[in-house]
């Protein structure tokens, strides 16, 4: 699983240490100033400078003087109920039918023989639900107010003592409510689909002559080896991301084996992540090595030297690790020569106190390139100021909740690759169902944002245009990050105009444009730059849906950080307030025009 260091931040770190609160405040002020300026220009053109200013000031005054303080929850609720019923009349529940059809046929596409089918199943249901719900929110929100205006039913509302804030909020709440109901049903169906889809049972196929070693039969394209202890109990090896318990009991003199249900494929580990630094061959801090891969996610350390990967952990509490420090790691090996093909590359793990005075004995390991677990006992051998002695994990190594973990590569001329999220401490486990629920909360937040945008656009655009505008925001939110590659000069082939010219002139993206006219080429590039800058500016105003997605956490069995979810909640709240205010102004302006 890929995690960026910024995802580890707690809510307070994100708000205060990383300056998000300050940035948000600056954004509010800038947008307010910009909004005021644009509205004033429009009002000035319509009514002249003095009158225009007055009308704008009046709208703002109304908002704070009457509309906002006198907004009634009961009226919002009444409108929300109407929106809810309207949505039901528009047959939105058909989405559930579509989803059921989708998961009925999903078995055709999901590969049970994959290394970890749970990942595929969970990713599938979360992605399918995400797209369906976002589309639902889009269609619901974009057409409602324009349809009311077109049918003139809006007059039956605005002639009553209902404020624009209540109309906007009522719609948002109503649509969110129906969306939540649909999402809850989809979530329930998904959970059942995942649990049932991954559930399977094995029988014992062969048992060794000692009656303790055996192999299960093949089910779900895999089988397991197991070994029983003297009491006739055992656990199978891990295959396809899970294990089973095996018990042998004597019934009428015959041994009967029972293989339990899968364990570990639906998990929610609670990891503690640390920050990572690398050192070079001489032990001096550097940025890590690139061994030639295009991906920059992992950096590498050289083998047979002091080159190390050093994780600095904080908040390591003794209460979370009563039986020792459980380390989970997924380290990659890179060989510059094949060497001994059968034996994996070797690494060393060392624990060190933050003041670097005490360190543990080296723990050698063979690189697995998949999840590998090591448990560091509470009492262990180590060194204090380079002198060997018995040390205590939490008294000597962990200081104020901080500890360092160092990884080195033992084999000369071979390399080990890692990113910050590739080594974590396992501080217990939460239930999969709860984590699954949190994943759906994340989807719910995205839905609410889309509804907010849809309602906002629908206050001043006609239905189809509002839908296209919301869809554009959605696309920009999902794929907007690609625009950054244009500006970082990593993108071959130029912007939209250059791309069209290349298609017409049959020039691949790796070739120079070479139109034989430098002025023309410059013009094309300038237009592209202008267009892309415009889109980039728009992008920064819409939420980054790619970052709001949390399905990886659920799929990879990692407990979704509460801090991250809270952060997403705040972001959604920010967009909710922003779109409500903009929607209010537009609706108010329409009223004035009417």
């Amino acid at each position: 699983m890929r995690l960026e260091p910024n995802q580890f931040w707690s809510l307070s770190e994100w708000l205060f240490r990383e300056g998000s609160l300050l940035y948000g405040a600056a954004l509010v002020i800038t947008m307010a100033a910009f909004g005021f300026f644009v509205c004033y220009v429009v009002a000035m053109v319509r009514q002249g400078p003095g009158e225009g200013f007055f009308s704008i000031a009046k709208v703002i005054y109304d908002l704070f003087r009457t509309d906002l303080p006198k907004t009634s929850l009961s009226r919002i609720w009444a409108i929300a109920k109407l929106a809810f019923l309207e949505a039901i009349r528009r047959k939105v529940l058909a989405v559930i039918g579509i989803f059921i059809v989708g998961i009925l046929f999903a078995g055709w596409f999901l590969d049970k023989s994959a290394d970890d089918p749970a990942k595929l199943y969970i990713s599938f249901v979360l992605t399918a639900t995400n797209y369906l719900i976002l589309l639902l929110g889009l269609f619901l929100s974009a057409f409602s107010i324009p349809a009311d205006i077109k049918n003139r039913t809006i007059y039956t509302i605005v002639t009553k003592p209902v404020r624009p804030t209540e109309i906007v909020l009522g719609r948002v709440v109503g649509f969110s409510l129906i969306g939540s109901v649909v999402l809850a049903v989809l979530g329930l169906l998904s959970y059942v689909f995942v649990v049932r889809g991954l559930n399977h049972s094995h029988e014992v196929a062969t048992i060794g002559s000692d009656g303790r070693n055996g192999v299960t039969d093949v089910a779900g394209a895999h089988s397991h080896n197991f070994r029983l202890n003297e009491d006739g109990k055992g656990v199978t090896d891990e295959s396809k991301g899970h294990q089973h318990t095996v018990t042998a009991t004597k019934v009428n003199g015959e041994t009967v084996f029972k293989v339990g249900p899968p364990i570990g494929n639906l998990s929610a580990r609670v990891p503690v992540y640390g920050s990572l630094t690398y050192t070079d061959r001489n032990g001096i801090v550097n940025a890590g090595l690139n061994v030639g891969y295009m991906s920059e996610y992992r950096k590498f350390i050289a083998g047979g030297s002091l080159s190390s990967a050093i994780w600095n952990f904080e908040n390591v509490k003794e209460s979370d690790f009563p039986d020792g420090l459980e380390i989970e790691m997924n380290i990659e090996a890179f060989r510059t020569y094949k060497g001994d093909i059968v034996t994996p590359v070797r690494g060393t793990l060392i624990l060190r106190s933050p003041d670097e005075t005490v360190e543990s004995e080296r723990v050698s390991f063979l690189v697995k390139e998949s999840l590998d677990r090591k448990v560091i006992p509470l009492k262990l051998s180590g060194f204090r100021l380079n002198k060997p002695e018995k040390i205590d994990l939490f008294k000597d190594l962990v200081k104020d909740g901080r500890v360092q973990i160092i990884i080195r590569c033992e084999d000369s001329q071979q390399y080990l690759g890692m990113a910050a999220a590739d080594l974590s401490l396992r501080a217990g486990e939460k239930t999969f169902a709860w984590n699954f629920f949190k994943g759906y909360v994340s989807i719910w937040l995205q839905m609410v944002i889309v509804i907010c945008f849809g309602v906002m656009y629908s206050t001043f655009l006609s239905g189809p245009v509002a839908m296209v505008a919301t869809l554009s925001s959605l696309v920009l939110g999902f794929f907007g990050a690609n625009i950054d590659t244009f500006f970082s000069n990593q993108y071959n082939g130029g912007g939209p105009v250059e791309a069209i010219v290349r298609i017409l002139t049959q020039k691949g993206t790796m070739l120079d444009l070479d139109l034989g006219n430098q002025a023309l080429e410059r013009t094309i590039r300038t237009i592209d730059y202008g267009m892309m800058s415009g889109v980039s500016t728009l992008k920064s105003a819409v939420p980054d849906f790619g970052r709001l997605g949390t399905s990886d956490f659920i799929a990879y069995g990692v407990d979704l950080f509460d801090g991250l979810l809270a952060r997403h909640l705040l972001i959604a709240l920010g967009y909710f307030i922003m779109t409500t205010i903009i929607g209010y102004f537009f609706l108010k302006t329409r009223e004035m025009a009417a």
Partner: protein, 652 residues
């Protein structure tokens, strides 16, 4: 107003119907199954029964959905669900798959590739390149060879799915054969891959499900378990069956059909490498050799528009020779006269160059010889012009016939070169001989004893192996330059270290060592080439001796040295010995004139020119303390080299 609207609507309807008509004619599906063969639609099938134009074209070229391969509901659903944006969806999936590969999300890559292929199930390149991606590019990213093996299998499974959607694409089956043979059998981890494969019962069952009879004797190796080379061969045979059934394959037939015998040869080779060195190995090689002969008897279509049979090269040469003889008979003595009279046409330099033996010519002289060829060697056209008029047309026909046949023989030769036909033919014949198998077994066992530290047994076995290898190299000198010979060289090195000896002329493989030393330094070495030619000429007499192998404890035979035509000892009675190829060439070149005596150093003087003489500080020296070699030795001291054979070393 209403009437106007009615007219307008009627006009729209007429327009729609008018547009529908051609659509109907083009796209009407067949209502009755065409009675004609797919390639040639029956003339009796009426237009209505065979459908519209598009349907007929589909039928004619066998490109209807059902003809291409399996109809998969999942695939059809996906294609329909994209609402005509299949291309866009495919492009997005390609980009996604590329991203997943770059960022190493391999499970997702695999899932995306499945979706991608279902979107374009009849696009053969997708299956082909992405299967390769999985089996070759993704698999090597894992450090654990078992994980690599699993990804090779994923690539194979992916391609198998492709064959179901494209049942008339033999290239897919052929590639499956390549993955299963080459990827599993020739990678660095081939030993581990082959071991995993032969014990992968679960996968064997899967292969049975794919329609491969992996349980049959044809697919089992020496240990009676499925062998990757032999199972892969079954895919090749499936591809050949498809082509025989009329499917088109754009692969060059030379390479397309070579894989079947290659698989058998490599299977036999792997079997020997893994220690099966008995009758089973001999049988495996004999089977491979027979298959190679069958390959040689195939009519291979060439780029010149005619077919060749590579196994009939000698016949083609003989036919060309006979045709030339007929022409020569008609021309009579005219050629000799022209050659005799052409002396005056050569410049002094050209004359000297022509009369210098081939091996002694400088590059400039060789250029002069080639450039002046037309002056002293008349062309067929020249000779025809000199014939009486009544004979010219017959001569022209004979000349044209001879040239055509010569050209054909050249084409056969070129195709043989491309697939290394000579080598594999020789290898197949040689490896089934008791001597070769014994040599390999002794070398293998010697290695085993050496690993255990039993030096006496190891050395005894090595020495027996050298006797057998000496027989092999004498009978088939070309083997000295091949991969097997590299293994022998390495083994000699191990033997040298174990026995702590230096190699002298009495060593059974001294000729081999000398030759390899020269050749490994310079492949174009004339001395090396002459040595090789000499051995080649003498080789025929040793072939019969390959049926009896030398065993440990047998009496050591007298060393057989290469008979060099220019050995100083043989200068006096060289007429009794077979002449070297170069000697023959120079004889030909000087046939017309009495060549002035050319002072020429004996070739033997140069034969050790490139041999590395042992020096006390040479890191590669394998010698005992009791036989120190001179510190330096040079070509100038060739006389000394003649009297005191140099100590040989194993080339790196």
């Amino acid at each position: 107003m209403n009437t106007k609207a009615l007219y307008r609507k009627a006009a729209y309807i007429c327009g729609i119907v008018a547009l529908l008509l051609p659509l109907f004619l083009l796209g009407q599906p067949p209502t009755v199954k065409s009675t004609g063969s797919s390639a040639e639609p029956s003339a009796s099938a009426s237009a209505s029964s065979s459908g519209g134009l598009l349907s007929q074209i589909r039928d004619r070229y066998d490109i209807g959905q059902a003809s291409l391969g399996q109809l998969d509901p999942a695939s059809e659903t996906m294609r329909l669900a994209t609402l005509g944006l299949r291309g866009v969806a495919a492009t997005i999936l390609w980009q996604k798959s590329d991203y997943y590969k770059t960022e190493k999300y391999y499970d997702r890559l695999s899932a995306t590739l499945n979706q991608l292929a279902l979107l374009q199930p009849h696009f053969v390149s997708v299956w082909d390149s992405q299967a390769h991606n999985l089996a070759y590019n993704v698999s090597v990213e894992f450090d654990d060879y078992r994980e690599r093996y699993a990804w090779v299998k994923k690539g194979i499974d992916y391609l198998v799915t492709g064959t179901k959607f494209n049942r008339r694409q033999p290239i897919l089956q052929w590639h499956l054969g390549k993955y299963m043979t080459q990827k599993l059998g020739r990678s660095d981890e081939k030993r581990q891959f082959r071991e995993l494969f032969r014990n992968d019962d679960e996968y064997h069952q899967k292969l049975v499900g794919y329609g491969l009879d992996v349980e049959s004797a044809d697919a089992r190796g020496a240990d009676r378990k499925p062998d990757n080379w032999l199972v892969g061969r079954l895919w090749f045979l499936k591809a050949y069956d498809l082509v025989r059934a009329g499917a088109y394959c754009k692969k060059n037939p030379l390479y397309f059909y070579a894989e079947n015998p290659y698989a058998l040869m490599y299977s036999a080779e792997a079997m020997e490498e893994e220690g099966t060195l008995d009758d089973k190995a001999m049988f495996a090689w004999s089977r491979a050799s027979n298959e190679w002969d069958a390959y040689g008897a195939l009519d291979i279509m060439t780029s010149w528009g005619h077919t060749v049979q590579m196994g009939k090269y000698d016949v083609a040469l003989q036919i060309a020779k006979d045709a030339n003889a007929k022409f020569d008979a008609l021309v009579g003595d005219i050629r000799k006269e022209v050659i005799a009279n052409s002396k005056d046409k050569l410049t002094e330099d050209e004359f000297t160059a022509v009369n210098t033996p081939t091996l002694d010519r400088t590059p400039e002289q060789q250029y002069l010889v080639d450039a002046s060829l037309h002056k002293y060697m008349p062309s067929k056209n020249m000779l025809i012009q000199m014939l009486p008029k009544e004979k010219r047309s017959e001569a022209l026909a004979l000349a044209s016939d001879a040239e055509g046949k010569e050209e054909y023989a050249v084409h056969v030769g070129k195709y043989r070169d491309q697939c290394n036909y000579d080598y594999w033919e020789m290898r197949g014949r040689l490896e089934q001989k008791p001597v070769t198998v014994a040599a390999r077994r002794q070398m293998y066992e010697a290695d085993q004893f050496l690993a255990k530290g039993d030096l006496d047994k190891s050395i005894g076995l090595y020495e027996a192996a050298w006797q057998n290898w000496a027989k092999v190299f004498r009978a088939y000198p070309k083997m000295m330059t091949e991969e097997s010979a590299d293994d022998v060289l390495k083994a000699i090195k191990r033997y040298g270290k174990a026995a702590d000896i230096s190699f002298e002329d009495s060593f059974a493989l001294s000729d081999f060592l000398k030759y390899r030393t020269i050749r490994d330094r310079n492949k174009m070495s004339e001395v090396g080439n002459e040595m090789f030619e000499t051995m080649l000429k003498a080789s025929a007499q040793y072939i019969d001796g390959l049926d009896t192998a030398y065993q440990v404890g047998d009496a050591v035979p007298e060393p057989v040295m290469v008979q060099r035509s220019s050995d100083p000892e043989e200068q006096g009675n060289s007429s009794d010995k077979p002449k070297s190829a170069s000697a023959q060439t120079s004889e030909k070149a000087t046939a017309r004139v009495i060549a002035p005596p050319v002072e020429r150093k004996p070739a033997y003087d140069k034969s050790f020119e490139n041999v590395e003489f042992v020096t006390p500080d040479s890191p590669r020296a394998l010698q005992t303390q009791s036989s120190p070699a001179p510190a330096t030795e040079s070509v100038e001291s060739s006389d000394a080299a003649m009297t005191r054979p140099p100590t040989l070393v194993v080339p790196e």
